[in-house]
């Protein structure tokens, strides 16, 4: 009897399954390689559960639509890739400022510009962090296999609801398009965070932007009994524009600290053989698959090698990375760009001269052999 809950699917579909499991109600998107399958699948699956799908006229409109829908109480998502992600930045900043939960999937492809649309890269890491203008905080999560894609997608919805913030899922073309097994958890197996709604009764003053003691901000659905204003301008606790320096200072502090103070709660990572590792690979996304292969291959051959696979990229878990690497002779960041998480690791660890990079930037998936060759150079053994 075919076991219903095991699937052999693309990473893009694993993301769709995770979103539906988390309670996705509304998706707005625009076709772009390599994330289009997410839109296609959701156009079919969402209406089956009474949810809504719309293909908008561009990625800017897609972000606008999901923000509008989220305000009425829906759980929302959009999916894109580099070029579309660039177009989404202003509205992403709006969702940050107005603290509206939403999930944005960026299935990375080779950039910049049109780049190599059907090839892989992890070049948008810093765009995810600083793509939109002004000081701000952002949550960005990635995964290296379909079970983790499913889990991190559910996490993304939970984190966006908990902290009332956009969350970026930063996958890549290899994960997005390769097929792999996914074991579907039963409903209820994974904890879900539902929309926290205000308990303030009608006619009583509801402050949309006055955090509770626990820092959470209860929402009131548009169309409900509380009428309030939402604006991208700096605003007071009622949501009305204010350029009072104290209001501005407190709000930007709140927007940044609500994420920065929860780095460890938001941090997600996996570790392999770190306890006695002399050389630690740090990797994420599809690169971590090759990095893990290297560790599993060289460990039995006596190499004291370990892997720290990051899933939360932003807020970057500096303390965790530093602590895990304290005894390592070499730290090698494995990623498909010219050194983006490399910079963060160098900032995180003592004696950053120990930190190297093993990368590819030519659109070809980095292989275990690529990594091993570079490792030998780093360890002074030549090719």
């Amino acid at each position: 009897m075919k076991n219903q809950n095991i699937k052999f699917i693309q990473g893009n579909e694993a993301c769709v399954e995770g979103a539906l499991y988390a309670g996705l109600d509304f998706f707005a998107g625009y076709p772009i390689t390599p994330s289009t399958e997410i839109a296609e699948l959701l156009s079919y699956r969402l209406p089956q559960k009474g949810g809504k799908f719309i293909q908008m006229e561009d990625e800017i409109a897609s972000m606008g639509a999901i923000i509008g829908a989220s305000l009425t109480g829906s759980k929302v998502m959009t999916a894109t890739s580099g070029p579309g992600f660039s177009l989404m930045q202003e509205a992403l900043g709006y969702a940050i400022m107005t603290e509206i939960p939403c999930v944005i999937v960026n299935v990375q492809r080779g950039g910049p510009s049109t780049g190599i649309p059907t090839h892989v890269s992890q070049g948008d890491v810093y765009q995810a962090r600083w793509g939109t203008h002004g000081d701000h905080a952002i949550v960005t999560i990635t995964a290296s296999n379909h079970q983790d894609v499913f889990q991190t997608t559910v996490d993304a919805f939970n984190i966006s609801e908990t902290y009332r913030t956009p969350v970026i899922l930063l996958y890549d073309e290899v994960i997005g398009h390769m097929r792999e097994q996914l074991v579907l958890p039963k409903q209820g197996e994974l904890p879900l965070v539902e929309r926290l709604r205000t308990s303030v009764r009608e006619g009583v003053n509801y402050h949309p932007y006055l955090p509770r003691e626990d820092g959470r901000l209860p929402m009131s659905d548009f169309g409900g009994v509380h009428r309030y204003n939402v604006t991208g301008l700096f605003h007071d606790m009622w949501g009305f524009p204010s350029d009072n320096p104290e209001v501005v200072h407190d709000l930007i502090r709140h927007l940044v600290d609500k994420i920065r103070n929860n780095v460890n709660q938001i941090a997600r990572f996996k570790e392999y053989y770190l306890e006695d590792a002399k050389c630690i690979l740090i990797s994420y996304g599809s690169s971590a698959r090759s990095a893990r292969h290297v560790v599993e291959y060289l460990r039995p051959r006596g190499e004291k090698l370990g892997l720290l696979e990051l899933q939360t990229l932003w807020p970057f878990p500096h303390d965790i990375v530093n602590e895990k690497c304290v005894n390592a002779k070499h730290v090698v960041v494995v990623e498909m760009n010219m050194g983006q998480i490399l910079r963060e690791v160098k900032r995180a660890v003592e004696r950053p001269e120990r930190v190297f990079i093993a990368n590819r930037i030519d659109g070809v998936f980095i292989t275990p052999k690529d990594i091993r060759d570079i490792l030998r150079v780093i360890q002074g053994k030549g090719v």
């Binding site: 089956q48 908008m56 639509a65 509008g68 548009f222 169309g223 009428r227 604006t231």
Partner: protein
């Protein structure tokens, strides 16, 4: 004044300049809503960025002050996820037809039920008087010091061509017609476009020596004519006002409900 029940009084007097037409648009809009007798909880006002778009702060509804040009996209998300809500989307001429042009034509094409109000003062007022897509050939502005060589859109023709199922134009002089048209537009089930010629005495008026706010409203009186009037035939330069398009067309959210029905039936 009954319409004061619909405003957030604590923010008055509002920020618009003395004689600005946008205040009159607010006045007429509130009277239209009052006549419709809608509950304040059913109305969502989604505006973009600019002088016109500050209107959302002054009205006691669910108000969403978005980013420049994108109000219609945000409104589409609100409307699709809660079709029972009434969406009113006031925008400036630049907001709706320059940076927002793409969303304007696609929202019209989809015929999604909302009311787009293009508060056309032929200038970017908030940023101090630059020309807009509706300023028109030969006008002066801070970015057209040698005169503007851009031809303007005809908002009504653009909306018609894009598929809007209700298209109308009025002016801040013809307040009774404007209120009536806004009422019709809000009631209309489909994408409604209402262009309002609204004077900007501070920038467009001063730069182009159009006199006082009242003079600019006199201009609207003397240079417009009801749709299809004889006068228009004799003097094609007259700007027509009134309802140009009012037709029943499949509305986007209603059509999507059918998609959901089909999807849910198909599965069971």
């Amino acid at each position: 004044m009954a319409i004061k029940g619909y405003i957030r009084e604590r923010f008055f007097p509002h920020i618009w300049c003395p004689g600005c037409g946008h205040g009159i648009v607010l006045n007429s809009l509130l009277r239209a809503i009052e006549k419709l007798g809608m509950s304040k909880n059913e109305i969502v006002v989604v505006s973009g960025i600019g002088c016109s778009s500050r209107i959302s702060g002054y009205v006691d509804f669910h108000t969403l002050h978005t980013i420049h040009g994108r109000a219609l996209a945000f409104a589409t998300g609100v409307k699709m996820s809660r079709p029972e809500l009434n969406l009113i989307v006031p925008m400036g001429d630049g907001d709706a037809l320059a940076i927002g042009g793409n969303h304007f034509i696609h929202s019209a094409r989809r015929n999604i039920d909302m009311t787009a109000i293009v508060m056309n003062n032929r200038i970017y007022g908030m940023t101090g008087g630059q020309y807009s897509p509706l300023s028109g050939y030969g006008t002066l502005a801070t970015t057209a010091p040698y005169t503007n060589i851009d031809y303007a859109f005809d908002t009504v023709e653009l909306a018609k061509a894009a598929g809007a199922s209700f298209v109308a134009r009025s002016t801040t002089y013809h307040v009774q017609q404007l209120t009536k048209i806004l009422k019709q537009a809000i009631l209309h089930e489909g994408f409604s476009v209402v262009e309002v010629l609204s004077q900007c005495p501070t920038y467009f008026g001063r730069k182009n020596r159009k006199g006082t706010a009242a003079d600019m409203m006199e201009f609207y009186k003397d240079n417009t004519t009801p749709v299809g009037s004889k006068a228009k035939k004799e003097n094609p330069d007259l700007i027509e006002r009134g309802v140009f398009v009012e037709k029943e067309m499949l509305e986007y959210c209603r059509e999507y409900e059918k998609i959901i029905e089909r999807a849910m039936k198909g599965r069971s």
